[in-house]
């Protein structure tokens, strides 16, 4: 007898008393369920059997550990992203005297005192001449205002490493902080501005509008075509070679990497059909082709879930194929189709690679007004910000991610809820 087996026996005798009570308790609990082995089988276990039981427990534990590991990652991921994003929802403002002078309308730097240059946001200053033009009555006056601070000041106030604030500005800021001339407010700039070359002035508005435009085109193209394809395949098509080819083809399309759809969009939509590069139209059409298989597959599943008896009842009353599908099958399959469309929408919304290929990572400070304007989308904006070297962009990237994740997770939750509610047992 080897050593481990001896140890086993020792453990067995040690735990005997405890074991008996627990197995008896188990027995009492499980007599109705009849799931576990009855206690008389546990009383005389050979070392071999104990080994097998330990292996059994170990296997159970591996499965549990796998799930726990994945969920632990999920928690770590969200804590990390939220921790990085939260500072971006605050922005720093400084109290500065603004001179609305003739000189300032020509050179925006003249609007503030010299020592405040580098403390006040240059992007904000740059917008001043246009503001003065719109309000000529201000000319010659000066006012003390809370204005947006430079990104480096903002980072310094938030005590981030690598804020990059020069020492002479740091002295000014420290003095202002003592006088209460610096405050932190909720970051509205993030939601009201487009992209900017200066991090404190950059926001997600242009990218959000671009996302809405692009996804509108995607859904307008993909949902009707996808649903019609699914209806054809489920309700009309005979089982012939063509139908099988379409089915295999759709499964293949679902597995093609998204970046290849970008190549398709570039070669076909942009080079061949002349759709403007970077436009919401080019991006939307590319995403529509990518989303199509998802919508087809989920719609087919929803149509298949409608019982055959419904169709037969309709046929029995003299309805045609089309009438049956339109009046009876489609309304019953609607929740499933909606769920599939939302899932497809969420997938398209987070997609970046094909859109970068069709040029949707351009620098877009203003929200687009038509679907042919150069546009960017939220994920592409996140990507371009993440490649910027200035410290201030890092937290904006995380904030953009948080907004995107919030929208996507609520879309997915909506889809799950819809699916659970519509799951009808026939």
């Amino acid at each position: 007898m080897n050593k481990t087996a001896e140890a086993d026996i020792a453990m067995h005798t040690n735990n005997d008393a405890k074991m008996d009570t627990t197995t008896m308790a188990n027995d009492l609990n499980n007599t109705e369920a009849g799931k576990t082995t009855p206690s008389f089988m546990n009383e005389h276990k050979s070392p071999h059997q104990r080994k097998r039981e330990r292996a059994d427990a170990r296997f159970h534990f591996y499965g549990f550990a796998a799930i726990a590991l994945a969920l632990a990652f999920l928690v770590f991921f969200f804590v990390d992203i939220i921790g990085k994003a939260l500072p971006a929802f605050d922005e720093t403002e400084v109290l500065a005297t603004i001179h609305y002078s003739e000189a300032a309308s020509k050179n925006y730097n003249k609007a503030i005192d010299k020592k405040m240059r580098g403390v006040v946001s240059r992007a904000w200053l740059r917008s001043l001449p246009a503001y003065m033009k719109a309000h000529p009555e201000l000319m010659g006056s000066s006012a003390e205002l809370w204005v947006l601070a430079d990104s480096r000041v903002d980072q310094y106030i938030k005590q981030h490493d690598g804020h990059g604030l020069k020492s002479k500005h740091r002295r000014t800021v420290d003095a202002m902080l003592k006088d209460g001339k610096i405050r932190t407010v909720f970051n509205t700039t993030l939601f009201t501005n487009g992209d900017s070359k200066l991090p404190e002035y950059a926001g997600i508005l242009a990218a959000s509008v671009g996302t809405v435009f692009t996804l509108l085109i995607t859904m307008l193209v993909a949902v009707p075509i996808g649903v019609m394809t699914a209806i054809y395949l489920e309700e009309f098509a005979e089982d012939n070679r063509f139908t099988r080819m379409v089915e295999v083809n759709i499964n293949n399309l679902a597995a093609i990497p998204s970046i290849l759809y970008g190549l398709l969009g570039l070669a076909i939509f942009i080079s061949f059909f002349g759709v403007p590069r970077s436009s919401a139209l080019a991006g939307g059409l590319t995403l529509a082709l990518m989303t199509l298989p998802v919508i087809i597959i989920t719609t087919r599943a929803a149509l298949r879930a409608v019982p055959e008896s419904i169709r037969e009842a309709a046929y029995g009353l003299g309805a045609s194929n089309l009438q049956t599908a339109w009046h009876h099958v489609l309304p019953l399959a609607m929740p499933g189709i909606l769920t599939g469309s939302i899932i497809g929408l969420a997938q398209a919304m987070g997609e970046t690679a094909p859109l970068i290929i069709v040029g949707m990572m351009a620098y877009i400070p203003e929200a687009p007004t038509t679907i042919l304007d150069a546009t960017t989308v939220l994920p592409a904006q996140i990507y371009t910000w993440s490649t910027e070297s200035m410290r201030g962009y890092g937290e904006r990237t995380a904030a953009g991610i948080l907004v995107l994740l919030a929208v996507l997770l609520s879309l997915n939750a909506l889809a799950v809820k819809l699916r659970n509610r519509s799951q009808q047992s026939w």
């Binding site: 159970h60 075509i225 019609m228 054809y232 190549l263 987070g350 592409a380 994740l405």
Partner: protein
């Protein structure tokens, strides 16, 4: 008149015209039913019949004109296009309204057209595949006219920068173009391997736990939680891998006295693996649950433990399906773009050390197509050649996994 305006005018005219046609025809049918003439079809079908006669000629005209314009065969002014389309649509309406009689079978006529419309929707998915294949192949052929295929597949040096110099008019100062893709594919293989080493064990054990051990209620809660991992956009994973995971790996490697690049292959590989976990777990969960309960019962009745039943009975039975899931996961990992673009390197590097920076096929495609190069340079075209290889690999993986799954289904259904 811009294209956008043309679209607006076209549909702005066509929609009211169609609506008018629908209500005129339906009204006509309803009136005759009121006069006790029994129509063959429901009034709505006469309406739709007329709409088809309005819309089809108008759409066909505009299609012919756009094709002529696109291929530079002929070009007509926008006003003429609109006039012709609407005139034909009006003529169609007049013709169809004349058709509406008691014995006219509108329903079969409409259904025939609708069937055609549904069929053409189904054909779009085939056209998409065709579009991907053709666009990739045509540009690849142009690439392979400059770079020999054999050099592309077996070369170990990737130096497309010379193409950029030629573009700048300094062709004499450069060495030969080098488009050897071997280091790029090696990098792709390495990152995919790391991803699979993470995803397959965790995904498979998660699937086993959910299908064999978890109660129905906890399974219902765990599955959506795991699927959140698949719903996170890849650009977010890329940011996370580059900003959070990469520095941690460099730190850990440093504490072991190893040198690690910030663009190491480990960070994107690990994160990609985590992204793929729900992919493997839900596909495997499905096939494990498809194994008949009678097989488990038979095994348990012989006195095996649950783990032994799973290891020796359930998993071997589900094996083909699990292999198929893994193949699909591999194809997903190979085609994944944003994680590697953000977290892996740009420099092709033929090495077996995952702590060094290396690059992948998708990174090179993005790099080639987002630069300022003109579209015809060999550097830009190389993206399509890499895309072609990517397409072939993923299609092959997908076809093999489809066949394996079909075999598996046949065995148990």
């Amino acid at each position: 008149m811009s294209i956008a305006d043309l679209f607006l005018w076209f549909f702005g005219g066509l929609l009211p015209l169609s609506a008018m046609a629908y209500f005129l025809a339906r009204g006509k049918a309803i009136t005759s039913e009121k006069n006790n003439i029994r129509m063959h079809s429901r009034p709505g079908f006469y309406g739709w019949y007329t709409v088809i006669w309005v819309a089809l000629p108008a759409l066909a005209t505009s299609l012919i004109f756009s094709i002529g314009h696109l291929f530079h065969l002929f070009s007509v002014p926008a006003t003429m296009l609109l006039a012709t389309a609407f005139a034909l649509g009006g003529a169609g309406m007049w013709f169809a309204l004349g058709h509406i009689k008691a014995d006219f079978r509108a329903r079969p006529a409409v259904e025939k057209v609708m069937r055609g419309v549904l069929l053409s929707a189904a054909i779009i998915s085939i056209l998409t595949t065709l579009g991907i294949v053709l666009s990739v192949i045509f540009e690849s052929i142009r690439f392979f006219q400059v770079v020999p295929v054999w050099d592309f597949i077996t070369g170990t040096q990737w130096q497309p920068d010379t193409a950029f110099l030629i573009g700048a008019g300094r062709a004499e100062s450069v060495g030969p173009l080098m488009f050897g893709s071997l280091p790029i594919f090696a990098g792709t293989f390495m990152i995919t391997l790391i991803a699979m080493l993470v995803a397959i064990p965790i995904g498979l054990f998660a699937a086993i736990y959910m299908s064999e051990y978890a109660s129905h209620a906890s399974r219902g809660r765990l599955k959506p939680l795991l699927e959140i991992l698949a719903g996170i956009p890849t650009v977010v994973y890329g940011f996370f891998a580059a900003i959070t995971i990469s520095p941690i790996i460099v730190e850990i490697a440093h504490s072991f006295g190893l040198e690690a690049d910030y663009t190491n292959a480990l960070a994107p590989g690990l994160i990609m693996g985590i992204m793929i976990i729900p992919f493997i777990s839900s596909l495997s969960d499905d096939v494990i649950r498809a194994v008949p309960q009678s097989m488990r019962d038979g095994s348990l009745a012989l006195g095996t433990t649950k783990a032994e039943t799973i290891r020796h009975i359930v998993l071997p039975a589900a094996f083909p399906g699990i292999v198929a899931a893994c193949l699909l996961a591999v194809s997903r990992a190979i085609g994944e773009t944003m994680i590697v673009v953000m977290a892996a390197g740009l420099r092709p590097n033929l090495t077996a050390n995952p702590l060094e920076g290396m690059t992948t096929v998708t990174v090179k495609i993005v790099e080639a197509l987002t630069g300022d190069q003109e579209f015809d340079s060999a550097f830009t075209l190389s993206a399509f050649a890499l895309g072609l290889v990517l397409l072939i690999i993923t299609l092959m993986l997908n076809i093999v996994s489809t066949i394996v799954v079909r075999k598996f289904r046949q065995r148990y259904e």
